[in-house]
């Protein structure tokens, strides 16, 4: 597709379980970002990839959160031992070298029950 694609759109999981959220960026975009948005808040930065490497992971809240981008394209955000406070919309964005804006996917709504 032409845009950023995120799967699944919705994920409900039980407290303590492990989840993986997938992001397919726009083809050719080397920069990829993960954000988290809670109700009434703006998107909060989690991690930024330039190619395969995590250039900035300063936004990851704790060591339960991890993200990979092994081939410089698709990225997976992994959350271990989920907690109810992890419930939020997780947004992925990508940016091409010549772009000054980032393009967002539709997000994955994660609900931890």
């Amino acid at each position: 597709g032409a845009g950023v694609s995120q799967t699944p759109s919705n994920k409900v999981t039980e407290k303590g379980k492990y989840v993986e959220l997938r992001c397919d960026p726009i083809s050719g975009h080397t920069a990829l970002y993960w954000y988290r948005q809670s109700l009434g808040q703006g998107p909060e930065f989690l991690i930024y990839f330039q190619g395969t490497g995590a250039a900035d992971d300063s936004g990851l809240p704790n060591d339960r959160f991890f993200a990979v981008r092994p081939e410089g394209s698709v990225s997976t955000l992994k959350i271990q031992r989920t907690e109810r406070g992890d419930s939020a919309v997780y947004l992925c964005a990508s940016r091409g070298t010549m772009n000054t804006e980032a393009f967002f996917g539709q997000g994955t709504r994660l609900t931890v029950v």
Partner: protein, 114 residues
């Protein structure tokens, strides 16, 4: 430490009138400022941006003004249309810097009344 602030959680305007959304920032290293629009259950959509070397950028009904000395920017929508009703996020980054991350405000919910 909120580097990008949108102090108005909501704004209501009549169709055809001007909508003015405001944003303040604290980090003088920001060199690009962007506005995103978000409908429910969708991701943010890029609307318009401005470089720190400019004070105005216009695209159709949308104009962004930047006042660097005041660390303030605003988005003007004229004329406002009901389809403009959405949450608007102000965002900024240090585009040329070593750390390349977009920082968002908390958003302003715009309601355009027919």
């Amino acid at each position: 430490d909120q580097q990008v602030k949108q102090n108005s959680p909501s704004l209501s305007v009549q169709e055809g009138r001007i909508s003015i959304l405001n944003c303040d920032y604290t980090n003088s290293m920001f060199d690009y400022f962007l506005w995103y629009k978000k409908y429910p259950a969708e991701g943010p959509t890029f609307l318009i941006s401005i470089s720190s070397i400019k004070d105005k950028n216009e695209d159709g009904r949308f104009t962004v003004f930047l006042n660097k000395s005041a660390k303030h920017l605003s988005l003007h929508i004229v004329p406002s249309q009901p389809g403009d009703s959405a949450v608007y996020f102000c965002a900024a980054w240090n585009y040329g810097g070593a750390t390349n991350k977009l920082i968002f405000g908390t958003g302003t919910l715009l309601a355009v009344q027919p």
